[in-house]
């Protein structure tokens, strides 16, 4: 082996051996069961690995899973509220294999989940949920009352319907397909996609992430879209009626409604572009896009 190859070979060996030692780390099973009121609350801390929460029709919480042997798992509390945590002393961020935890919970409780790199999946749930991660993916299914999800870089996926939805990311993409009465969605660089979701009131904002809306708009709905430099694309079904007001400082607007239109900001001279939609609903849509493209397209 030539000298030039020795350095990379040693580094590769180190990485391979250490990765092997990590994956070979012993896991141990954990279990916990406790009474929990149907409207009680549960708080979960698990920084790395995965957290799966499923609603059921019992007044109790049941936890099962696997935790690295050198980490602690514990739960405490009473029927009104339970807290469960895996060793919080370490900063994992995906370096360790992490803990795999599965929770069965009364479906209408108040649920609070915090992770760093752990993925969070909640399904068959009908209560109030707050979920936080740094890089872990968050997915919520069911018919949630109030839903607040925040992540720095993780993806947010919400097929759940909810009364209120607050979803925020820095770089993570946000996908919404469930029905929402009141949605407030923000990202910095992450893309926002709302597909065939029935939203009564919605505010969708990004700095540079793109926003795509696909589907119809409910009668009387009020929607606001904002971006600094991202593309805002609305693909609207023919049934959608009402008005769209677009303001842009340095961007452009392309519309397929009415006479096909393509205008640049300088053509608007500070005025809003008003677009009338042909359908029978009376939605009100406002778009503010500083310098990104705005596309109003027929679905």
């Amino acid at each position: 082996m030539s000298r030039r190859l020795i350095g990379p070979a040693v580094a590769g060996l180190l990485i391979a051996l250490s990765a092997g030692s990590l994956t070979a780390q012993t896991m141990r099973k954990v279990e916990y069961r406790a009474a929990l009121d149907g409207r009680g609350n549960l708080r979960i801390w698990n920084m790395s690995g995965s957290i799966r929460v499923t609603g059921w029709d019992k007044d109790s919480v049941a936890v099962s899973g696997a935790v690295p042997a050198d980490q602690r798992f514990g739960c405490g509390g009473g029927a009104a509220g339970v807290k469960c945590a895996v060793d919080l002393a370490a900063r994992y961020d995906g370096i360790e294999p992490g803990s795999t935890l599965m929770f069965m919970v009364p479906r209408r409780i108040q649920l609070w989940v915090k992770s760093s790199s752990a993925d969070i999946l909640v399904n068959n749930f009908e209560g109030d949920l707050e979920a936080y991660s740094v890089s872990g993916r968050i997915r919520v299914e069911g018919r949630v009352q109030t839903l607040a999800v925040e992540t720095m870089a993780g993806a947010v996926d919400v097929p759940a319907s909810s009364v209120t939805l607050r979803a925020k990311t820095a770089g993570g993409p946000i996908s919404i397909t469930g029905d929402v009465e009141d949605a407030q969605v923000r990202s910095v660089t992450g893309n926002i996609a709302i597909s065939h979701s029935r939203v009564q009131r919605g505010s969708f904002e990004s700095i540079s992430g793109n926003t795509i809306w696909r589907g119809t708009v409910l009668p009387g709905a009020g929607l606001e879209f904002g971006s600094h430099s991202g593309t805002i694309e609305l693909r609207l079904s023919p049934a959608t009626g009402g008005d769209i007001a677009v303001s842009t400082f340095a961007g452009s607007v392309k519309s397929e409604f009415g006479p096909a239109t393509f205008v640049r900001a300088r053509d608007l001279k500070g005025r809003e572009l008003q677009v009338a939609l042909p359908g029978t609903t009376d939605a009100r849509i406002t778009i503010r896009n500083f310098k990104g493209s705005t596309l109003l397209l027929k679905q």
Binding site: V30, A89, Y132, T146, M152, S208, H228
Partner: protein, 221 residues
């Protein structure tokens, strides 16, 4: 009861969720088993520390009243109050050689991440005062954002060591993008101070910055 107690038994015992007979058996086992006594003590410590973790997520007290009120109106939640850190004794599981290798890998990873972040562009300074006077309402709102953001940045700086390098990298990249957006839209507003849409765009970018910093604070345990 000759075998060691299971974690489930320990949890139930700590929670007081065992009947008298089981309790007696567990206590008899504890009396003669140092391993389980140690496990029980660690479990009690963990549960006690879990109990100290926040029961609710409440708005940060750092924020000025006006901003906090706006956020409370618009948002459902924000930043947790000071959270305790659980310090649980971690048992050594790796051989010394493996530990050295892990350390080597971690060091390489950290070097790579930190090298990456050190190359990140520096956020632009706040824009200079505009040539045309901006509306008082806008300036008042902007000043509130400045104060709240500065307070959050100071808080984060103090806890920077508790943030993972990856989190710092994400935060800095996104702050840079937001600051650039603020600078651009604010410069445009300076040329057209009466433009309400521009005013809203600038304030919206400030709001994004504030919320990003709050998210970073949430990630600090």
């Amino acid at each position: 009861m000759n075998q060691h107690l299971t974690e489930s038994q320990l949890n139930d015992y700590v929670d007081g969720a065992v009947d008298a007979r089981s309790r007696a058996a567990i206590e008899a086992h504890h009396a003669k088993c140092a391993v389980c006594r140690s496990e029980l003590q660690a479990m009690r410590s963990l549960v006690a520390e879990i109990g100290e973790l926040p029961a609710q997520i409440t708005p940060s007290r750092d924020l000025r009243a006006g901003i906090a009120e706006r956020i409370a109106r618009a948002e459902h939640h924000t930043v947790p109050a000071k959270q305790g850190t659980i310090r649980v004794m971690r048992r050594a599981r790796f051989l010394a050689a493996a530990a050295v290798l892990v350390l080597a890998t971690t060091t390489l990873t950290r070097w790579w991440v930190l090298r990456d972040t050190s190359d990140a562009p520096v956020a632009p300074a706040l824009p200079p005062a505009p040539s045309a006077p901006l509306p008082v309402a806008f300036r008042t709102e902007e000043a509130r954002y400045h104060d709240a953001i500065a307070e959050l940045q100071r808080t984060l700086e103090r806890s920077r060591a508790e943030l993972a390098p990856q989190t710092i990298a994400i935060l800095e990249r996104n702050l840079f993008i937001i600051d650039r957006a603020i600078a651009e839209s604010r410069a445009a507003l300076a040329q057209d101070p009466a433009n309400n849409d521009l005013s809203r765009m600038v304030l919206s970018a400030y709001e994004q910055k504030l919320q990003l910093l709050q998210r970073a604070q949430v990630s600090v345990l």
